[in-house]
């Protein structure tokens, strides 16, 4: 496999162009670019995950989730099988705004793909001074993914936990809790709490490990597989306008 080394700034600029090209101006494309960048910089496969959803055409279909239920302190969204890349920020916004009002908000996001995107959303909750937790099941592998963050922290604590069976009776759902207090009595959280024992954790990324991954990229840049880089570049190039004698006049020639 061939790799190309690029800097974070270069990567950010590339992704901004990619997302502008892909989403158009109907969505917050810079925000989406920031999410892909965050995942990739922290070795969470931002590019592969993003390229995996680009068969969907946001310029042709509406990507927004449907708000199925809205109660005090609780939302239920249907993400319509779309990736959380497209909707994660909007859902986090809604959760945060409700938490601001009621000191806690539990959002359930059904029918979503790529729930890993929520890690980026957790940081936003933290920046607003809240505790936040998110979890989802990878049912085919009997894995529970759990991430939490405290107020004003830069990175979450992320664990993958082996579970014996689908005792939780989950579908492809994602839970997000944002709260003013560290403790909460949300039932679905109380259900998974016993599973979060250290001995069950098969893989974890601690906040300082996230930080190390970022620092490493700041110093050395990122190594991206050339085929992926080319795919991104091709997408990015679609926002460029063909040159002509007339267009050169537009640069002052």
């Amino acid at each position: 496999m061939k790799f190309i080394r690029i800097s974070i700034n270069e990567f950010k600029a590339l992704l901004n162009r990619v997302c502008e090209s892909y989403y158009g101006h109907k969505y917050d494309f810079e925000d989406s670019a920031a999410i892909i960048q965050w995942l990739e910089i922290h070795d969470l496969k931002g590019i592969i995950n993003f390229l995996g959803v680009t068969h969907v055409a946001p310029k042709k279909i509406k990507l927004m989730p449907i708000l199925l239920e809205r109660h005090q302190k609780r939302f239920v969204f249907d993400n319509q099988g779309h990736s959380l890349f497209h909707t994660g920020s909007i859902i986090t916004d809604m959760t945060l705004a409700q938490c601001h009002q009621d000191d806690i908000c539990h959002s359930k996001i059904n029918n979503t793909t790529q729930p890993i995107v929520i890690l980026h959303g957790l940081i936003k909750c933290s920046q607003f001074g809240y505790y936040a937790k998110a979890w989802w099941l990878e049912t085919e592998k009997n894995l529970l993914h759990f991430a939490s963050i405290n107020p004003s922290e830069m990175y979450p604590n992320y664990s993958i936990i082996k579970i014996n069976n689908s005792i939780l009776n989950y579908k492809s759902g994602l839970d997000l809790i944002c709260s003013k207090d560290s403790n909460n009595s949300i039932e679905s959280y109380l259900n998974i709490q016993p599973l979060l024992q250290k001995e069950n954790v098969t893989q974890s990324i601690l906040p300082n490990e996230f930080k190390e991954r970022f620092n490493e990229k700041i110093i050395n840049g990122l190594y991206i597989e050339v085929t992926q880089y080319k795919k991104l570049s091709r997408m990015a190039d679609q926002i460029l306008v063909e040159a002509s004698e007339q267009s050169r006049l537009g640069a002052g020639e």
């Binding site: 800097s7 063909e242 267009s247």
Partner: protein, 575 residues
Amino acid sequence: MNNQKHSLAQVKTSLRSPAQVMDLNRLGSFYPYKLSFMRKLMRKVMQEQWKINCVLFNLDKEGYGETVYEITTPTNCYHFVVFANFLDNTLRTDRVIAEAWDMTVTLRHGPFKPEELGTLKENVPLQEKGRMTAESLVLSRANKSSRNFNYVVNQLSSGMQPCIKKINEVGYLYRTTAVYGSGKFGMADWGKLKIAYQDFKEPFSAEMFSCFMIRQFSLDQADHIASKRAPELSVRLDNDIKRYFGIGNATGLGMAPFLIKHPLLINNWIETREFALAQVLSHTLPNKNTLPALKLLIQRAIIHLNEIMTNNESQNEINLKASQSLSLIIKWLSQETPQSWDQFIDYVTNHYNVETQELINTILIEIHPEEVLSLEENNDIEEVYELSPEMNLMDLKQIIEKKYQWALQYDFKSKNANAVFWYRSEEKMEPRLGERDVDHGAEKEILIGIARAVEQCYSTLNKLSLEMNINNVAEFAFAYPEHRQIIRRIQTMAKTKYGEIQANLLDKDVLPIHLLRCKLSFFGVGKFDPKSRLWVRNTMFQGAPIASDIGSKYKDDWIFPIMPNNQTSKGNEIH
């Protein structure tokens, strides 16, 4: 003087309003000032006594080949690599789309390792098409001034110094056409510079230093060619003349989107400048030291303006008018003694145009170094725009009405207000301006029309009905995701004073050159020579010290450079 010292809060209340400062016409009248990046850089280089040694000077008799300078600072070491190549006259262009240059350069961290020269030679001359390592800070290129370079070498090889007046027509031997940093083409990220290369932790300081080194090489190369051409007869360029040589620069539309996309950074730059001015006005009074200094610097500014050579009629008029206004101000000062700087500023504001007002502001800041040098260190700015989802929509509307009133005054249904669009060309992603409904590419326009985006968002807000039950920003963005991006910006910029350039960049008569000049003034660039409303030539480091001055006493007074009165120059009589 210090008896009048006010508190920080009082200085803040006397800051000029954003409506006044952020007007595009005024921004386009800014001059380089005491805290411009080149000035800050030179103070640092001179105070810390950086050592610049040429460790490889492998040029042939025509000046082609490689040169490497090693730069040692108190805490680090860097090297600056130059590749000087033959360039056919027909290929020499200022445009960013050029493919070949007289000189290509890179600034890198660490001592020079000769074994790396081969790889550098394969990549640096390619510029955008090459790849750089994470130890590289800057990549740049420059072209010879066809007017000046051969003339200077001919003079030197004939044993004569060049004519100052002739030099003044251009002011430099080389002109840079692009200076890349901040992680471009695989180079070190800006974040890395701040951590690992703290000598260049100020924005654009690595880029400015590279321009300083390009200027140094241009002088060394001219000396070298002359000495090879006539070993017995040639003379070296006089140091006073060397200092008068700057480094040219051609800047196009690429800078304009940068200003719009980095409003927090721009806010920081403008706020620092405004704070410096407010501090001078609040803390100091005209006295027996500062009044003569003021008059002296105004006189120098008059000479400087009169010496600027440009074919641009409009710029000539601006310079002439400013020079005449300054003469009248000198006359007024010989008859009146202002009791306060506010009184003086009131007089200038009431009688003279924006250009003159900003010249005077620049001069007032310049003559009060003790008041402004404490502002030298920039705060670290991270260009992040977070949405505040909990904000209720009434608050959002009020912010728009208060902070973005200027944006709501345009009628975007009128053809003129939405007449142009900005886009990126496939040619090196160069930003260009197109005429809507005439030029191709409007569907790919860059989101640079902040006023239009704000107006659209505000219009949608006004159309909401109670039944829609949309109360806060999160719910609004959920329903109208197309406005999320501009809301993030509105909410973030509401916490700042300056930052938003109060102009409609989609207007039929937009003058991007004002944006360019504004940014260039913060760099420290002078002698603006507009080539159209879309690009400008200018001069950097004119009058600044040269490498051999490092270690000598530094006066820090090279603002408004003027022709040296040099005894060795016979040029004044010749031309």
